[in-house]
Symmetry: C2
Subunit: 325 residues, 2 copies
């Protein structure tokens, strides 16, 4: 990888895909003060609201070296910030992939970050979930179950953990609320994104990794290679055909110490086996087996994130070359 070379871009921009207008009526009008020093004024929630839209930030290189852009799809309760500067301040995968010659599109999934969210119960059914640091520490496999403490000095991460434990609180600033049951809306937006972008490579993480596998079944003509980082689910094997592009799945360490991840991984690895059985190029990269101990759920933020980016970049470059032949 070119390291700290400057990035020469022809475009830094953004757009929205998907979404529809919902008209509300019959709700009460409120009197509210809306700005510093301003007098209260009536606020009427009745009228037209946009819902289901998805924000996409677009980085186009002056001279891309790959014919296909890479789409980064983050996981549940996250935003596209996951791919930017790591919580301990190192360049993230967005930078590394641009340096490697890929155009990059980073989306905030529907309902999250710059994609906005909608009133409940009028448009969304109910309230979202907010992930605590306590739960995340376990779920993201920073340390043994129950090793979180409010006081950072009292936390007990795995001794070999690759995520910088001192940056865990900074990482928590990235988290956003998430709803359950919004899969169809989110998939519709990803479909609109693929239709707009055309042939591409997709890198999805966690819930976004599950979406990436799902959308690859649905749009095998558009997705030319898919990388799922610790996907939290896999689609039905009935949807597999030999028209699917190459698949790569990455797993970090300590899966066996966490029953939820053991279950998720079981389903995903069975899916990868089914892909391979149908002749689809499909590979699992198990980091501990590769000699890298201590990777957490957030592989792209771990201390060895550059090494992992390098593996994924090489694999994607090969997939793109095969697809372009």
């Amino acid at each position: 990888m070119p390291g700290t070379d400057a990035m020469k871009l022809r475009k830094i921009g953004s757009f929205f895909v998907g979404g529809r207008t919902v008209t509300l009526d019959g709700l009460p009008v409120e009197q509210r003060r809306l700005a510093i020093g301003a007098a209260p004024r009536p606020v009427d929630p009745n009228g037209d609201h946009v819902t289901g839209q998805m924000y996409v930030q677009e980085f186009r290189l002056a001279e891309p070296r790959c014919p296909y852009p890479v789409l980064f799809w983050h996981g549940g309760g996250m935003t596209g910030v996951n791919w930017e500067t790591t919580p301990d301040g190192r360049p993230g995968w967005l930078t590394r992939f641009l340096e490697a010659g890929f155009d990059v599109l980073v989306s905030d999934a529907v309902e999250r970050g710059r994609s906005s969210w909608s009133m409940y119960p009028q448009i969304y059914e109910g309230a979202p979930l907010f992930r605590t640091k306590n739960e995340a520490w376990d779920m993201f496999r920073m340390g043994p179950p129950g090793s979180y403490a409010t006081d950072a000095a009292a936390r007990r991460p795995w001794p070999e953990v690759q995520f910088p434990p001192e940056a865990f609180d900074a990482f928590a600033a990235q988290w956003v609320p998430r709803w359950v049951g919004h899969e169809a809306m989110t998939e519709a937006a990803y479909g609109a994104l693929l239709a707009r972008v055309g042939p591409c490579l997709v890198v999805g993480h966690s819930q976004g990794g599950g979406f990436a596998l799902q959308m690859t079944q649905r749009y095998p003509d558009l997705i030319r290679g898919v990388v799922a980082l610790e996907p939290s689910g896999a689609p039905d094997t009935a949807g597999i055909s030999d028209a699917l592009p190459p698949h790569l799945v990455l797993w970090g360490d300590h899966i066996a110490d966490h029953p939820v991840w053991t279950r998720y991984r079981g389903a995903v690895d069975a899916y990868v086996s089914a892909l391979a059985a149908q002749g689809v190029p499909a590979r699992i990269l198990d980091m501990p087996q590769e000699g890298m101990a201590g990777n957490t759920h957030f592989l792209m933020m771990d201390r060895n994130s550059d090494a992992l980016a390098g593996r994924v970049i090489d694999w994607l470059a090969a997939a793109a070359e095969a697809a372009a032949r």
Copy 2:
């Protein structure tokens, strides 16, 4: 301006400023399904939550031509997306300022976009406001009051309107919910941002313009020039001193047709007069008086956004040069 020249960057990254941890307890545990195909599992909202943090995206040029970065602060119910590609697909001010040689930092104000938001009523006091297209059409001065219709073809914009009316629905996809009464929290985050960034130039719009004027009073050593685009409020004149940096305020068209904007502008123009009376370089650019008709509240998205960017860039370059002397 260099037009379509490529942008050579040394850094595309992000960071968070401000925020604190709140510990919740005594709330009920729920059973929820969290991913495609996954089994329901307990979700415990009790524990540690981050609140009050602010997201900042950072674009650093390989060879900036100005010693100070420009900080873009958006308005109420918006995010940093306001400064990116315009809703009708043209390069926005982020691109134009990079092309002009400024490093640029774009924040999402606290509670908005990638800055996330917090549970209510446990952390925030109550529910947010959601702006309808109906209200926004009037408030943003797209057409005469009451000229909005759900059917885009039936809307009646001002004949000379500079905002592309056909892009109004695309623009609505950018809007996010906003809370009232969060000024102190937001100002704390802007203060943390200024402390981290150091000497800089600030461009604020609407509510963000009001914050820009306020923070300039508080940090006259750090803000070397401030531009407020249609600020929706002004700080107390008692805080004015001759140590304040140069101020520029921009106003679009049809202010007199809208009582709320007439009132906001009255307060702001009185503040600018008070600045001038104390010897602070302070200027009002009234677009209709400058021969530009039809500008809306969203000057940086209007059809003449490049011309307006040029005016602001020239003014900021002069302010920066004066400050650096």
